[in-house]
């Protein structure tokens, strides 16, 4: 529990530092007049060509959902590693079965071309 209080304090200090820097620069810095040019989004000094909210190709979504699936797979392996000595052979076989089922998914994904971009 105490470790988490430390994390919480870190978040508070980080927020205070970021917020304090902004607040201080707003308070003691010069405040130039707001023009339309200055309110525009800054894009490497170039004039923005189009609205940022464009339609995404669906392939990004496929990559993202496959990432989440294998992310969860790793999350489930972590408790196994942490309790490796205690769960023994039974846990080992269980983890291998878990991995085997998901390896079928990986093979299917590979054959189907989900790992290729074009």
């Amino acid at each position: 529990m105490l470790d988490y209080v430390a994390i919480f304090l870190t978040i508070i200090v980080a927020a205070l530092m970021a917020g304090g820097a902004l607040l201080l620069s707003a308070l003691i810095g010069p405040s130039p007049a707001k023009t339309k040019e200055k309110e525009r989004p800054f894009e490497c000094g170039l004039v923005p060509i189009e609205e940022p909210g464009r339609r995404f190709p669906v392939h990004y979504y496929v990559v993202a959902i496959l990432f989440v699936v294998f992310d969860i797979e790793v999350i489930f392996l972590y408790p196994w590693i942490a309790s490796f000595d205690e769960v023994g052979l039974y846990g080992f076989i269980g983890a291998m079965a878990f991995l085997l089922v998901l390896t079928f998914g990986l093979i299917y994904e590979w054959l189907r071309g989900g790992l290729e971009w074009h």
Partner: protein, 168 residues
Amino acid sequence: MAEQIFFYFFAALSIVSAFLAVTRKNPVVSVVWLISCMFSLAVIYVILSAFFLAAVQVIVYAGAILMLFVFVIMMLNLKTGMVGQLRNLGLKFVGLIAALLILRQFYSAIKGAGAMTGLPPRAAAGFGEAAAVGKLLYSQYIYPLELMAVLLLVAIVGALVLAGKEQS
């Protein structure tokens, strides 16, 4: 005492964030409030000594799943105010039924909590940490774990069938 202050603060924050996530007109802003809601829930998990669950909540929910939400918003190219048009009468009816079911769950949960008396039992040392979760998951709950693998397999196949390339 400190735990109570943390609980009430983050419980209130999660409710307010969830409310704002539902009511915002811009879907991207909704997702940001949802991240705040997920994070508050992670803090509540810590207070409940479910440390592993709290870490997973931040990594998977606030990280990966919310990223998927943003991808869906960008894929559909939802602009501010477009979500309101999608809320038709049928969806509102389904929402009403879901809300009533959740209220019923709340009622039974609060009734159950009212019956409890005395101090809650103290959690054993190491409770809720990855090793303790693993010990249960890879012995007593091995069958649900294998079912999880099948569920994840269905997610892989489903994503590829729905959105993947045509098989040549």
